[in-house]
Structures are given as C-alpha cells and as structure tokens.
Symmetry: C2
Subunit: 332 residues, 2 copies
Amino acid sequence: MTKKPVLSDVAARAGVSMMTASRALRGAAEVSDRTREKVMQAARELGYVPNRIAGALSSHASNLVGVVVPSLESLVFPKVLSGISAALEGSPLKPFVGVTGYDLDEEAEVIREMLSWKPSGLIVAGLEHSEAGRRLLEGAPCPVVEVMDVDGTPVSHCVGISHRQAGHDMGREIVARGHRRIGFIGTKMPQDFRARKRLDGFTAALTAAGLELAATDTYSGGSSVEQGRNLTAAMLERHPDLDCIYYSSDLMAIGGLMHCLASGLSVPDDLALAGFNDLELLRGMPVRLATTDSHRHEIGRRAARIVLERRDRDASPAIEALTPTLSPGESL
Amino acid sequence: MTKKPVLSDVAARAGVSMMTASRALRGAAEVSDRTREKVMQAARELGYVPNRIAGALSSHASNLVGVVVPSLESLVFPKVLSGISAALEGSPLKPFVGVTGYDLDEEAEVIREMLSWKPSGLIVAGLEHSEAGRRLLEGAPCPVVEVMDVDGTPVSHCVGISHRQAGHDMGREIVARGHRRIGFIGTKMPQDFRARKRLDGFTAALTAAGLELAATDTYSGGSSVEQGRNLTAAMLERHPDLDCIYYSSDLMAIGGLMHCLASGLSVPDDLALAGFNDLELLRGMPVRLATTDSHRHEIGRRAARIVLERRDRDASPAIEALTPTLSPGESL
DNA sequence: GTGAAAGCGCTAACAT
DNA sequence: ATGTTAGCGCTTTCAC
C-alpha cells in the first residue's frame, strides 16, 4: 500500500484494459460476468476507491445534488433534507448541503461554490435571492428547484406551499372560532420571507372579518421556546385582553403554551395559541397546539424527484403547490 | 453565453495566458496588480464560474471536509455541524455532509463515497465502525477526526466527551440527592453506542452506591417528546414507586415532564427527571430539567480546527476529551 | 511576473 | 465483449 491504487492498477491486476475495468466497476452491461468478477476481485484486493473527481471531469456529470438552506438548526430544513435523501436513495445522486445563515449574499456565494462542483441539480430554499444569486440560478447548467414557497416567481421548477395561504387559513379559522383580540409574534421579517408572507395572509384574513391585529412583536435570532415564552409574557403584560396569539413557528407557540402553564392560564379558554410547521415536538405536549403542516418531507421528496426526472429531458418548469394542512388541535 | 466560459476564455479576454489567469483568480502573490484586475474584470464580464472538479483533479486537493453523522433530524448533530462551519469559516475548506441513519454498513458506504471525492479531511461521529469502515478510515489520505465520544480506540484524532462519565456523574448526582428507586428510558442500544455508554456509567454509579436500576425501558426509532411521555406513563404504571427516571435524551425527558404535568405529579418531589445533551429547548420549560451539556458546538469547532492544522503537517494523533457539564436544574 | 508543456485519473467515442 | 485514442479543465512544474 505504498500509494493509493488507481484504475490502471486494478486493470493490470485483473489483466484487462482500463476501459474494461472502468465498465466493470460501474456495472455497465457489456462486460462478461467472468471479467466483471475478476475486476471486482482485483479492486477489492487492492482496496481501490474510485476517484470521482476524475470521473466527473471526464464524464461531465458529478452525481451531486446541491441543497441550499438557510440553517440546519431549526428542525425545519433537516426534514426537507430527509425527504431529498429518501427520494435520491437508490439513484446515483447524492445530496450535498450548503448553509447560508439567512443571508442572501452568502446564499449567492454558496450557490456559486456549488455550481463550481458541476452538480446534477440544485435545490434551493426560498424564492428570494440576491441579483447575483438569481443570475447564477438562471444560468445553471442543471435543473434548479426552489422549495418551501410558491408565492413568487421561480427561476425554474418550484415545490412548496403558499405561506400566504397558510397564514390566511389560520386567520380565518381563528376568527371563526370567535377570537377577536389577536396578537402576532414572529421573527424580524427581513430575514424570513416566508414568515412575512404568513403574516400578510393572516392579517388579510383578519381584515376580511373587519378585524385588525391587536398586537405584534418581532424578535431577531432563531425561534426558541424560551423566546416564545418571554415574548408571550411581555405581550400579555401590555395587552392583557388578548384572546389569541399566532406565532411564526411552533417552537415559539410552545413557549407561549409554557407561559400559560406557568401562569395558570387555560388554553384555549383564557388564551388561544397557534403555531406553524407541525413539528413532531407538538405531539406529547399537554395541549395539542393548532398548527399548519408545511409538508417539508414531501417537498424534499418531490424536489429530488424533479431533479431525477429532468436530468436528461428538456426542462419544462414544474410548479408543484402543496396544500398547507391546518390542524386546529385543542388550542383554539 | 452559448457555452459556459472556461479558464481559457477568461485568459483570452484578458489577453494573458491561462496560467496567469489561473494565478490571478486564485489570488497568488506573483501577479501584478494590473494583470490581476484585468483578469478579474474579464471573469466578471463572462460570468465565469471555476470548475473545481478540474482544479481538484489537477492539484490533488479538493478543499472539501467530509462530515459523517448518523442523522440530521435530532438537533444534536446539526449543532456539531454548526461548530464545524464556524471553524472553517474564512478558510478555503467547505464541509459536506453524509448521513448514515445509524447503520454502520451504510456508514462505510458513505465514508467510501466521501473518500472518492478526495477530501481534505474527514470528521466522523462515533468510534464504532464496521470492519470495512474502519479500514477505510485507517487508510484515508487525509486527517480523520472521530467526534462525540472518547470512550474507545480512535483511528487517529478524536474530540468528544466520555459518555460513560456523563452517565456516571448523573448517577452519582441522583443518588446524592437521595433518590433510590431509579428507572432508565433509552433508545434500543445497538443503534446508539453512546447512549449505551451513558447507561453503563450510570448503572456503575448506582452500583457503587449499593443500588440497582429499578426499571429499564428501551424503544426503537428516534427520540421524541411523545415517546418520552408514553414510556414514562407506562413505566410508572408498572413501577408506581419510582422516584427518578434518567433518559437517554432531553427530548425524552421533556416527554417525562409533560406526563408529570398532565397527571399532576410534582417534579422533583413526586418524580425526579434527568436527560442528556442540554438542548436549547430545555430553556423555557416550566421546570428546568437536569441534563448534561455534551458540548456539541465546541466538539465541532475543535474537530474542524484539527483538520485545518493537520492539513500539511505530519499527524500526531490529537485526543481532546472535553468534560461533560452536568446541570442539575430544578428537576432532581 | 508570465508562459508552455505535461498530465492529474478517469470516461466518451470510436474501433475491433 | 474488449481495447485504443483523445481529452475533460485545470494546475504543476520548469522555462523565460
């Protein structure tokens, strides 16, 4: 084992040409079983690991699918990723992940970096990009799928839900349940376009019912139970008459629930609560919180499927809008 | 824009040789400022995206760091990843992630796949591998860092905590608090070696105090609040006299807490609870749960730093054992 | 400071 | 079914 063996070493040991060895290792059809076995055997004995870099350069196909997400710490994008992995299972494609930290310039950088690896596909969270980012996506020599959101103008393919609709549906449901003094707690909007769209849809639903938001609070940084709990306490301090709060995430809504538990407020009688995403976490909580399933796993699956299908074919843009599913739970 | 521009196009447009263009784009020192500007300009105008595949093949250096984790859905590995990203920030190295699903054969596959991309480093969760996986790691032509755990024999570098100690410390603490009828709820051990080590340490601490576990329950599949709640209910049904339960994860412990809330048990008076990991989630819960900080972010940071430092230098294996930090919270 | 030649390790395209 | 010839797009020498 003085040096890493390369294909020619395998070929030599098996007594065939490089080409035959190459074909055998990749499972091409036109190799006799006997030859294939010899080659496999030689590769095994040498501990041969193919050099995909050389392979990709030569074949102009990397079998990598770039996945660009804002963060991995939030429970939401990992689920998309698992959908992607599931759909790619059994295919030669492998996902590789880039994280942007909710920064569009960084996103463009990540996309650029990914393109430099000649991916077979690109899956990007969100429809909002920097000028540079969008240009890169438009010029990408591979299928591009924007995921999570369908409210906007995709570069090409798109799989997601309408966050506006998700917010609107929840607003209507809350109004229908008779709540009138309604607050909203969400992330500082600039960094989260989808949360902003949910808020827009939500307020539109209130407006349609002749209502308006009684209170709004935003925070920067990630969602967390603690944050949700603190902001809920603060909001109720200022607006003791609120009868419902809509949160931009389940995690925050759980915080709200924790505040209610701690201060003896009954949910939903004293205060109704609703979140977003349908995190698994909600199951097991003392009160089943109202939420909207954003179908993250399914979105990932479908996006990956689009990449698989459009690899060769010509690409007529596919737009797949899933329906956000509202679960009223027991908290409205 | 009929075809993607390549380096020679940039060079031609800038009126220099490929070599000069290459050097200018990579920021090599021996290029005059004027030439560099011309090249940069040309690249910008053409929308040039370098082909790292060609670059890596030629230079035998990919600037990729492979990160192999069992799962991304659990809140624990994303945190390690963020530590890795943070440490790699500003360096030319980029992490790329592979997920094994807690399956050692799959792990070997993933490692093999990663090696085929000629990474500059490999960061792998855990010390347990299949024969094949271990061989691959041993022969890897790049720094290899095993993370999370230090109870075992690393292939090379290693950063983590002793899970045995984490379990032992918690066991001692629980005993010191006067608990005597103690249960354990954890994942089915085969798939989670670290949880098993914590249990070993935990029972050792009990034994040292002349105690033994009064009840044990294991489950397969991921940790979840719901699972924790259900298993806690079931365990208390069978063993109503328990005064403490140790869980293999915070998520499960939260489930236990939720059960207590729902059934009017006071924590810790009726039942003491302890988890593991120190998830952010714990902050904001009505009772601050006892847990152990596994320093996941820091582990990621250090692992990445090792890769950065050992890139060139000769590799004398570094073993960095961090101390698991126990927080008793209010639940013991 | 810049350029020319050679080749990284593999595979596509054509033989045979 | 197997082999031969080129060449992917870049970087590493080594010249100048």
